[in-house]
Symmetry: C3
Subunit: 307 residues, 3 copies
């Protein structure tokens, strides 16, 4: 039996700034569940909140009476000490999440959310996408959640923290990372990673037969997208929501910003496994007349040779 | 000739709560057009509103003078009794909609919208998607619109009603349904169906060569997405926008919530036509080190066996 | 060396209506960079603004110290006359943009954004999509940016102008156009083009192996989508954001509206290159019982033959 206690705690959202977070076990995000298919889970919830609650296992197949939708599939777990035990077998792979369903508009955005994973990442090994072949085998240096929020007491945040309290991801040059975005907020967030194309290979945990590359990925509330990237270039590369007032205010950056910090590895040879999908060229058809691009008022044709 | 009368009526948006709806023929959504390619249609509009109007056939190919964009393609249909007759041949299949184009920011969100369908659903019969093969033939138990709105006098609603006035979809275990989302509001809505993966197979009525599965589908204003699902598990499964304050307020659920109610069928054998796309496993590449998932502050590795 | 001067100017956003725009070289959008792979560029920025600035090359591969993220990758370019020179080789194709990164929430939305292109459009020549084959070769009549904004002093606008100051695209019947949407605002915009399906063939400049057709394309802040369309039908076809209050107010249209104006060509034969993806029919599976579409309250089955 795993115990989850729903409780209000003081949470340091930015260095020195505390908010009243609604949590499972005092942390935001909540503890991660990482399981194998076929596992039986038993989760005992103790509700120390002033409001009733329940837990929905979002993106996870469960019997109806474990789906966590009070008052339809169960009774509300009473405030101030009520308990309920969820018990089911995880029958399918999942890249899911769990959170309150009743009073969700208060409880989820205030911090009651966590990751629920079953099975392995469906990485498209050996598949060629936009002209780039993913290796038949690769070692992930990190497989991490990036949980988005924007409301409640937590507010604009990544994994429960607002910049500069957000934790950067540190990689060595040439390392691979898989990242799953989970949106637990009330607004879509277009997540922009500088420099490194993100290969989107699963949506809501279900593998995409046709993965695709992006540099900015729009994630709506309730959605999950899983991406693969390789840290080819050394340096500090910021990684943030591209809604500019979600990441910056008059006195500087805050909120939904973090960075990928890539340490140089002099032995790294990007040509050994070419991964840049922007290395495309049309091989068929006619070349395009570039003067066509000059149609807009105020625009000037310009290149490095002249102008 | 089909008559559409633009008129203001009292509309029961929630049980006992009436709003002033702007309608075609007194209903929200408006009457559906369900046509065959090659049909000639003639629609006589009588405008009993206090403002001018017109009708745009969104996603439908028409001659320019039938496109319904006053004052460019026609004159405004005068308020208080003006009339106009649209007349054209439907030359292409469509999963479209029709609504006011002039004063649209008032008239559409207040209720003047309806479905316009030409031809059959482009279901991807026999195609294998995320490892699951759609049958070569299937009977749809229901083929329904899910029209989203969030503004005007109608406000947050599904097919013109706010929960609990929204009508649940009732299916027997094992039945198939096709659902088309139409967004007639001012905001994107990520539509989350509990338990059953949604196979997205058409965008704006145009078949996708590569359908994909989701559990949460973000639908922006003006967009249509058509999905296929099968009701494998009995129970009451809620179905809602995942922007939490679009579905819940302090005193409980409202707005963009409904449910799929699945009646048990003891003879149903899901293994006969396996449809669960989360039944994937990587068959190539190296297994992933699960300890990688522990990188986030506050997260604890946990599974059912220990912790 | 190309000079970019960051400066505040009076900008005519609508006929006769001036706003204080923050610009590069006095124009909104800023000058376009149109380059070949392998070009060396050198851009000298003079900052005549009252705030510090920097330039991020969004979607463009650069050395870390040219990424334009003060104070991490460089010092802020001082206000009132500070200068900085960016210098790098463009190593990859890109459909990118450039804009301020520091004080971005003020400077970008006030007008400091421009297009940065390297290489040719990855048009899917010869590929069959939704049953329609793109020719092995085609001449683009226009290859244009459509830059979206919604905030700051510029506000709701297309390429720096609000309707009716937006410039329509004029084509002859049968001509092809490629359009790239760039969102430099704070909100997603679902861009609806009347009549002509848009073939989405690149995301953030990276070619999609599986292009798809839409009539409404949702573009989030920071995203770019590149689409191909052919002007098959003569007339004035409006083209606009489908968030209705982004295009209309009480006294008529404004903001994010423009049009494609197609001049008739009596010699144009659409059958020579059939391009309409809605010309699909299911060839497998059972026909659908259309009465299924009648499930919604208030909906009436209706077609041109009866009702």
């Amino acid at each position: 039996v795993f115990d989850l206690t729903a409780e209000i705690v003081d949470w340091e959202i930015e260095p020195g700034k505390f908010v009243e977070a609604w949590t499972y076990n005092g942390v935001v995000p909540a503890p991660q569940f990482i399981l194998d298919r076929g596992d039986d889970i038993e989760v005992r919830v103790v509700n120390n909140l002033p409001l009733g609650t329940d837990i929905h296992w979002h993106g996870v197949h469960t019997p109806n009476d474990q789906d966590g939708v009070a008052p339809y599939t169960q009774d509300l777990i009473a405030p101030n000490g009520g308990t309920f035990t969820y018990k089911f077998t995880v029958v399918d792979d999942a890249i899911g999440m769990y959170h309150a369903h009743n009073h969700a508009q208060i409880q989820v955005v205030n911090g009651m959310f966590g990751v629920f994973r079953v099975g392995e990442n469906p990485i498209p090994y050996g598949q060629t996408i936009s002209g780039v072949t993913i290796p038949d085998s690769l070692d992930l240096a990190v497989d991490m959640p990036m949980i988005l929020n924007d409301a409640g007491t937590i507010g604009l945040s990544l994994n429960g923290k607002s910049f500069p309290a957000t934790e950067p991801l540190v990689l060595n040059q040439g390392e691979w990372a898989s990242i799953t975005y989970y949106n637990e907020g009330l607004t879509s967030h277009p997540m922009h990673l500088h420099q490194f194309p993100q290969l989107v290979y699963a949506k809501d945990g279900i593998p995409l037969d046709q993965p695709y590359y992006v540099d900015t990925l729009n994630v709506a509330p309730g959605e999950r997208y899983t991406v693969l990237m390789r840290a080819d270039d050394p340096g500090v590369w910021v990684w943030h929501c591209h809604i500019l007032n979600h990441v910056e205010r008059a006195n500087g950056m805050f909120g939904m910003v973090t960075a990928i910090i890539v340490n140089e590895d002099p032995t790294f040879d990007p040509a050994a496994v070419p991964i840049d999908p922007t290395n495309w060229r049309n091989t068929a058809g006619e070349p395009i007349d570039r003067t066509l691009l000059d149609g807009i008022d105020g625009a000037t044709h310009n290149n490095s040779d002249g102008a």
